[in-house]
Symmetry: C2
Subunit: 123 residues, 2 copies
């Protein structure tokens, strides 16, 4: 499967909120997931598909996502970027927030081997 | 200078079209610039600040940029992403196009050591 096919398939699933299906279909067993900083209880870097499933489960259990908008994919060589815009309420604050982030995915041997997140600090 | 300071300074200059000033102020001498594919006469990968100046000069001489919109920065660890939206006319086609791309910058020792571009293949 090409990087573009993986990118478009991933976006299709994520836009429907099917993050677990996306992990099952496209992620490598030894996937590495990188955040800019640790977000306790999540470390900045998670390794292995079970850790990523745990991270996604933690996110789903602790956030009410109202809408998700996706832009892209932005294609590179063996990488692609996706812009996510989330309108959500973290349960621990109860305060609704609107935020955007970029995710950069690296494809190796037909699977996503690395995902890295970047958070919008612009105005 | 922090990654965030470099990111915001770069965006300020680029939004005014001051790409050369951005290179002079923020780029490392051994900067590497990576495109998804070669765009003749430009190779996919350019190395060194003089090559990047040549690449930018080629772009400026061969494109009429009507408007540029910038989103971000999206901050990671020692990296940041910027979304560019360009409304421009490549001189060799004469056909006005509207396109968006992501640029990912890697900061090392207070300078931008790598830039990598990703082109929007979404709808």
């Amino acid at each position: 499967m090409s990087t573009e096919e993986i990118a478009k398939g991933l976006i299709e699933l994520c836009s429907k909120g099917k993050f677990e299906d996306a992990v099952n279909k496209y992620y490598a067993q030894d996937i590495v997931s990188v955040e800019p900083v640790a977000m306790p209880p999540m470390p900045a870097e998670s390794k292995g598909i079970d850790a990523i499933r745990g991270k996604n489960q933690w996110f789903e259990e602790n956030h009410d996502v109202h809408t998700i908008k996706i832009e892209g994919p932005f294609l590179g060589q063996n990488q692609f970027a996706v812009k996510f815009h989330l309108d959500m309420t973290p349960k621990h604050t109860g305060q609704r927030v609107s935020m955007s982030e970029m995710a950069l995915y690296t494809v190796k041997d037909g699977k996503i081997a690395r995902e890295e997140f970047y958070y919008n600090a612009g105005k």
